[in-house]
Amino acid sequence: MAEPILKVENLKKYFPLKRGLLDSLRGKPGKFVHAVDGVNFEIYKQQVFALVGESGCGKSTTGRLIVKLLEPTDGRIYLEGQDVTTITTKEEVLAYRRKVQMIFQDPFASLNPRFRIFDVLEEPLLIHGIGETRAEREELIYRALEMVKVTPPEDYISRFPHMLSGGQRQRVAIARALILNPEFIVADEPVSMLDVSIRAEILELMKELKEKMGVTYLYITHDMSTARYFADWMAVMYLGRIVEIGPAKRLIDNPLHPYTRALLAAVPEPKPERRNIIKELPIKGEVPSAVDIPSGCRFHPRCIYAQKGLCDVKQPQLIEYEHNHWAECHLVGKY
């Protein structure tokens, strides 16, 4: 297989909990939120890699680490073989940002309400010094808007975001990311706030752009169904770690980790014949706090198969159980 475009190695991000002045003075050790706690994966060119999990599992933090909105506590991120965690100079960071862009969840919040669409799209050009004259930039902006099918562009460039529909806003946000011609896009729940039909529309658009422009996506979502539809690869995160990783369809059709099973069982499907059957979920309890991570396998307090003396003691490793299909569980095949 080809070299991965992006590679993440043992990525960690701990957020210190805010503590009082007195505590710091007394030298009490600070507590940390273990948002991302040792994550490894590779993403191949022009493929979609989905990162799936519940809120608070660290999937968004991983995305932000990759676009360098956050600096990792530990670990490495390689883009095209180059370690990007060490770059610090302004020029290098700018060059990196031209290659890696991000799309956000809430299209309303991700556009400055006081910016016209023109300003929104001009901002990346100005930052990166693309287009000498306004006319040149205008040309680029028109092209970007046409690409995301906000047409005719001249009708939209002088509007404010609130004058657009939800779908159009997300298109503009995508255009803003694409105008720099990035190679890699982190899409953080890009469709979760949209209505079904618009959701389909945006997913189709992103798919089309992947083909046309050859971009690679990291698709962060909590929705297994869209992940199956959109992604080639899928990784399931729980409490800051990837517990299972593999080709999207394979992972859904043959889940190895108990948590993945629970997640899949929880997905509602538009099949009314099952409406009177109560399917019990293979999971118990609630997500523990990311401050005090359970010992051993971090899923064990919720796992219905957990074995005492093993799961609560020993941290499992990510093991390849099938071709390209890895899971982090002591009991794969044994439950």
């Binding site: 960071v93 940002r97 956000f104 969840q105 919040a109 991700s110 556009l111 400055n112 901002e123 720099l180």
Partner: protein, 509 residues
Amino acid sequence: MRWVDLKDSLKSFWSSYRRQKAGMLGLILLLLLIFVAIAAPWLTSPNVPKVWQVGNPLAPRNAPPTWINAFSHYKQSPHEVISLSNYFVGENKSMGYTIYKFKIQYPFKYDYPPKDIVFTGLNSTAQNPTEAPTMSMIIERPHEPGVKTEEMRIFSDVQIPAGAVIQVASLPAAKASVLVWLAENGVYKLNIPPGVPPDMISYLIMQNQTLFGYMSSMDIMWVIFQRIVDEKGHLYPLHDVLFHQTPRALEGTYTLYVTIKAPSNVKVDYSNAKLIMVGRTYGFMGTDQMGRDIWADLVWGVRVSLYIGLAVAITSVLVGVLYGVTSAYLGGWADEALQRFNEFMASMPIFPILILLGMYFGGHITINLLIGLLVLFGWMGTAKVARSMALQIKEQTYIEAAKALGASTWRVVFRHIVPQLLPYAFASIAISVPGAILSEAGLSFLGLGDPTAVTWGQMLNAAQQNNATLNGYWWQVLPPGLAIALVGFVFVLIGVSLDTVLNPKLKRS
């Protein structure tokens, strides 16, 4: 920010602000206030600040405004300043003297006579007192049946050194003349041998104990402007003429004949000479205990109030926004420290401290010092809000998006954060103006303000010292307070409208 953007946003701001009725009213009033502040020297007179300190001895004290006549049963004569040069009727020379003649028509239609007739402002080239011009005055009363002589000699040949002020009401010669006139008309009997010169007459009057007593306690203004004959055609007795209680004015046109006599070699300049009918009411808003014109002071007060209000509001909001944004942007320990300092300052009780400092600075805080102090203790609220707003904006996804695009700190702060804070800053400038004006007024009221500045607080301080409330001098109490309230209201109107226009969150409710 590009110029087109600025123009654009100003345009759109204006188009939505225009729809705020209250805001437009506030804006119009503000423009009016600014006009008044600038035009104060022309609207009133440029020496108002000087008069503020020394008072105006030529004006009545504690006089109510003239327009109260419209609401009261008895009309009180207003303050009138008559420029002598307008009534010059001719001059002639005789025996080495030049005589200037003036004839003044004074229509009197009030119940209460003027308090006094004052002559002032005559200049001459006289080198020594003997050369000084002399002055005579005769008043011709309107016709009153039963009165023999309408012509009333007030005084003759009184010397007027340079800068002299003649106050008729307290001039002994004038009192004597009036008593003589009363005798001439038969109000009482005074035995004067014929041919006695006028100054001898006053001597004679002083010899008579009763008359002397009358002379020292009488108010000749009452005699000049009152009837001396009753409805039945009988003369009132002397005591009644001099000391009656209720007004029975003799209305009509009084003619004042003023003659000024000076040696021919002495040049007399009467261009500034004035005859002042000292009123019982004064102008548009009356006077205070020092004869100061309240209207003029009020107009001048706009200057200082606007200056203080705007200077304090703008500076402290700027400081606050800067402090808040810095605090939010730095984050971490710096933020913590800045916040603690803010909290510390915010828990200082400002007013007692200002009083304290007022006493320390010898009982008076000058305007600029006051501005400095009010800024020093006035930025914390803005800083707190600016910080939390900046933090909130900083957490917005579009800031993250801008950062992901590679936007620099500078760009994030000045293109995304500050423009969002500006509306708040403008609104809070407008809203904090009244507070500063109130603080100045309060300190001045306690006597700790700048005594050289004509401010509304100082005016109210004067009112309090004058015991104006308990004395019922409402014209001294009402205007300054209303002015403060008006300016405050104007800025609150503007502030609230700005807030509504610029703060989309409020648009909902």
